[in-house]
């Protein structure tokens, strides 16, 4: 990306992730995604008169778990606060969040950049409740007025605010990927942007390199994928640099990313003229986290991506790069290890997982969890190669079949009669036929043209639909050719 060397980019990200608790943050309603509108609601999450919130302990534990992992100081006492604003998707017309005394502060996340590892500061982490959803149409049908669905209302959200330590849109992308990876390892969130379980706003400013003071920032919203975030940031940085070069001033404002036109535009100022009038939530007592509880939660923290990457290198002899790819996602790392457990050749497994499996998954736009080929099935396939039942080449075709049908490799091999021919007599007969049919090639070979041999091998393979054991074909061909001389 083009960026004048005289300018420096400063980015801070505000990430919201939905915690995957069974029930909402302040009531017992289900958090299940995709239910019929307003079926996961109760008097509490619809803001009936007289109801009171009760904090979901699991949500707090997930938040603490995340905070510990992100190297934060967890407050022994934090308080909830009301954030006041009117909107129909917010039944109480205030959101219960945290403001002056958040759950956790002063952490960091380490990411890999072109110039080595780098720490991105985490300014604060706090709990808050999600709002509902407004519908302005049903399917493609416009409706008279708007409808509101409160199913999402009260779902626990973790707000993770980074320090302005991110120096480029690419770094922002890396930070988000690393953050998502960790939260998924912790199993505290699905981090699925499509389902809205991860959302991200960015604060962006640029300044002349060497300048101490931060430039005027804009807040960019409305991005719905990591790629979109990167693009929006690239656009916004360029826009700000150009404005400064043209002698204009940056206005502090909220800008919305428009996916179609690939640009950011200012939000109408009326919509952002909020004074949230935060004050401590009197319906909730302070959240007290003692050392004993912290310790209990600490013990539930699993192996994290960085540790696992190091272990893969150590234990399986993988390269830094391969280990990095395999551990970026918890599900993939676990898939890999399950295959290795059943087929103890990590190098081979690495190849198959990284090339065949990931290749197919990407092409089909699927995630590991959705893989039609189970780890057991992949291990089975590798076993068939090792036993010589099928050749490596056939195995790739079998894998493709497994991926599209979900059938086991054994079934496919039997069904399609793909078992490798290793009977020397049988191969011998076919070789003889081929020699008779390819006298020209035989002549060429005799003249010393080695290339003719591979042509003959190819013919044998063609006759056997690739099932003949290639080494045997080679060996027998050479023998027969020699005997013909």
């Amino acid at each position: 990306m083009y960026l004048s060397p005289f300018f420096e980019t400063i980015i801070g990200l505000e990430v919201h992730v939905q915690l995957r608790t069974n029930s909402k943050l302040f009531c017992g309603c289900s958090t299940e995604f995709g239910a019929a509108p307003n079926t996961h609601t109760c008097p509490v999450c619809t803001g009936m008169p007289g109801v009171l919130p009760v904090v979901n302990r699991t949500a707090v534990e997930y938040a603490i778990k995340s905070a510990i992992t992100l190297n934060c100081e967890v407050a022994s006492r934090s308080i909830f606060a009301r954030k006041n604003y009117f909107y129909p998707d917010l039944p109480k017309n205030y959101q219960i969040s945290q403001y002056e005394e958040p759950l956790a502060e002063n952490g960091y996340l380490e990411i890999g950049t072109n110039s080595g590892r780098k720490r991105i500061g985490i300014t604060r982490i706090n709990l808050e409740e999600d709002a509902g959803k407004l519908l302005h149409s049903v399917g493609s049908r416009e409706i008279d007025g708007s409808l509101v669905d409160f199913n999402r209302c009260g779902v626990p959200l973790l707000e993770i605010v980074s320090a302005p330590d991110i120096k480029s849109p690419e770094e922002a992308y890396t930070y988000l990927t690393a953050l998502k990876s960790i939260l998924k390892y912790l199993e505290v969130s699905d981090c699925d942007m499509e389902k809205g379980s991860l959302r991200c706003d960015a604060n962006v400013s640029v300044r002349i390199s060497g300048e101490k003071k931060l430039g005027v920032k804009t807040e960019v919203k409305n991005m719905n994928s990591f790629k979109a975030i990167q693009k929006a940031l690239q656009y916004e940085v360029k826009r700000q640099v150009k404005a400064l070069k043209d002698g204009e001033r940056i206005i502090q404002e909220t800008r919305l990313w428009d996916e179609k036109s690939e640009r950011t535009d200012p939000m109408r100022s009326k919509e952002e003229a909020h004074d949230y009038r935060y004050f401590p939530e009197p319906d909730l007592v302070p959240l007290i986290v003692d050392e004993e509880w912290m310790e209990k939660i600490r013990k539930t923290i699993p192996e994290l991506p960085d540790e696992r990457r190091e272990r893969f290198i150590r234990e399986y002899g993988l390269s830094e790069y391969d280990a990095g790819v395999l551990t970026a996602e918890k599900a993939l790392a676990e898939y890999f290890e399950q295959v290795v457990k059943l087929y103890r050749n990590p190098k081979v497994v690495t190849n198959w997982v990284m090339v065949e499996l990931l290749g197919r998954l990407n092409a089909a736009n699927k995630i590991v969890e959705e893989s039609p080929v189970s780890p057991e099935q992949l291990a089975g396939l590798l076993g068939l190669i090792e036993k010589g039942t099928i050749s490596g080449k056939i195995a790739k075709a079998v894998f493709e079949e497994m991926f599209s049908t979900g059938k086991s490799p054994q079934a496919i091999v039997t069904e399609k009669k793909l078992v490798q021919i290793t009977d020397e007599k049988e191969i011998g007969k076919i070789v003889e036929d081929v020699l008779k049919e390819n006298l020209d090639a035989v002549k060429e070979y005799r003249k010393g043209k080695e290339k003719a041999l591979s042509h003959l091998v190819g013919q044998v393979m063609r006759k056997t639909q690739g099932r003949a054991n290639p080494e045997l074909v080679n060996k027998i061909l050479k023998e027969k050719l020699a005997s013909l001389i």
Binding site: V51, P53, P88, P91, Y94, D283
Partner: protein, 486 residues
């Protein structure tokens, strides 16, 4: 003597002896309601049919020996800011005029489990904001002792209903004196429990850190019985305290020898009605004659109570009342053009003047640039007021004060002067700010024949001592036995 004239403990005894049944009590109460309700207007909603059905069911179960609730068959009137499932809960507001609650308040649930019969929802100042029950969308309630006078507020309907025998017991809520002050005005007993003693779940919030549900009764004994039923931790209310609840009827002993009672000098100053002062001082003499040890004390931050209260309560209210927007339930202004207009008109038309005044006060106090000077400062002074009480309770077991600076005032007298109206709660507000329990009992009458209230305050969770002093006082006086002539 009609059954409706009796106390709950008298009726429970008669029930125990099978002399009467619940149906008869409820019928007696309703016949009294028929007689006087048109003049008093204690109720927003009467639920005679349900009440009769409830009474018959309880009688049936009692007959079969299947049931032994602490309030089996006793009529209870509930303030209309406490939710009864499938019943209307209006908070005496236009904006909730037709709101039917889909759930039940914890307190109502507990009363129901002990066999209480709900006879109706009582009138109040809109959203409990007021001291005279003049701020009700459904019209004023009149003081049974003199129909030209206010019954106090905001739980004016509950106090009036008990005083006039339209119910046996009643439930109210007290944010700055809303149980104690109407109890004083109507000559009945009203208790505001310690903050956290009674669950607020299902009480429509006015000021969450101050609101507390409490009982009204004709005497201290009835209040103790009601306290036994409604007190205790509730997992639906995080601010309810997980403490064992004592049996409050065990505090009903006639013995206050050596009990130290503090008389705060800051409460006996200019503005205190002379008749009230005389009655309260006389009550102190009575207590002294019964063995109590009066002691002058100081609560130095008393003078800031009203100011602190009118910053904190409206601030919380401004958020608590934000949910009334016409989107999901309640009144919605018809035919508005857009969302903003819908909000403005719905709330502009749905709320009364006093509610709007307090929402504006609170919104202002929380606004950027004012928060520190108002809300935060008020919270700091609140801590000092609380400390005053902590210090005082090092020296005394209870504090005695007038409940209100004057007896009930005339209807309309203070409606145009909010500040004068606010001062009606000058002696009750501090207990809410400090979270301590307080009780008001009748201790005399003015020349005009209006009741005067005596307030007793104690340290957190020491409701027992209030009941003990109150019970002893009532065993030796008969103010609480006087009845208005209607």
């Amino acid at each position: 003597m009609e059954l409706c004239e009796l106390t709950a403990h008298e009726l429970l005894e008669k029930m125990e002896r099978k002399e009467i049944c619940s149906k008869e009590i409820v019928e007696s109460v309703y016949s009294r309601i028929n007689q006087v309700e048109a003049r008093l207007h204690s109720f927003v909603t009467l639920t005679k049919e349900e009440a009769m059905l409830q009474a018959r069911k309880i009688d049936e179960r009692l007959r079969k020996g299947e049931f032994s609730g602490k309030l089996a068959g006793i009529p209870v009137a509930v303030k209309d800011n406490i939710c009864i499932r499938n019943g209307r809960t209006t908070c005496s507001s236009h904006i909730l005029e037709n709101f039917v609650s889909p759930y039940e308040a914890t307190v109502v649930n507990r009363l129901r489990e002990e066999g209480a019969v709900f006879i109706g929802k009582t009138n109040m100042d809109e959203f409990a904001m007021g001291s005279s029950t003049e701020n009700s969308y459904f019209g004023i309630t009149r003081n049974p002792w003199n129909l030209d006078y206010i019954p106090g507020g905001s739980s004016g309907g509950s106090a009036t209903a008990v005083a006039s025998n339209e119910t046996i017991l009643a439930i109210g809520s007290d944010t700055g004196g809303s149980i104690r002050q109407p109890a004083a005005c109507c000559g009945v007993v009203g208790l505001k429990p310690t903050y956290g003693r009674v669950s607020r779940y299902g009480l429509v919030a006015f000021a969450s850190s101050l609101d507390q549900i409490g009982p009204f009764g004709k005497d201290v004994e009835d209040v103790a019985i009601l306290m036994n039923v409604i007190s205790g931790h509730d997992e639906n209310d995080s601010t309810s305290v997980n403490l064992d609840v004592p049996d409050f009827t065990e505090s009903l002993i006639e013995h206050i020898k050596g009990v130290r009672i503090g008389i705060p000098k800051e409460y006996f100053v200019e503005g205190l009605d002379v008749e009230v002062e005389r009655a309260v001082k006389k009550a102190v003499e009575v207590l002294k004659s019964l063995g109590a040890k009066p002691l002058e004390i100081s609560l130095p931050h008393t003078e800031y109570g009203v100011a602190v209260y009118y910053l904190i309560a409206p601030s919380e209210a401004s958020a608590n009342l934000a949910r009334y927007d016409g989107v999901r339930y309640g009144y919605r202004s018809p035919e508005t053009e857009d969302l903003l207009e819908e909000y403005e008109k719905t709330r502009g038309e749905g709320f009364g003047a006093e509610v709007k005044r307090r929402i504006m006060l609170g919104t202002y106090a929380l606004s950027r640039g004012y928060y520190d000077a108002y809300y935060l400062k008020a919270q700091k002074v609140r801590t000092l007021i609380k400390k005053d009480f902590d210090d005082a309770f090092e020296k005394v077991d209870a504090i005695v004060t007038p409940t209100a600076p004057t007896p009930a005032f005339k209807i309309g007298e203070k409606v145009d002067d909010p500040l004068q109206m606010y001062l009606s709660d000058i002696f009750t507000i501090s207990a809410n700010l400090a979270g301590i329990p307080g009780i008001s009992l009748p201790c005399g009458f003015s020349n005009k024949g209006l009741p005067i209230g005596l307030q007793l305050l104690a340290k957190p969770f020491a409701e027992g001592i209030l009941l003990r002093i109150g019970y002893t006082y009532q065993q030796n006086t008969d103010w609480h036995r006087r009845k208005p002539k209607l």
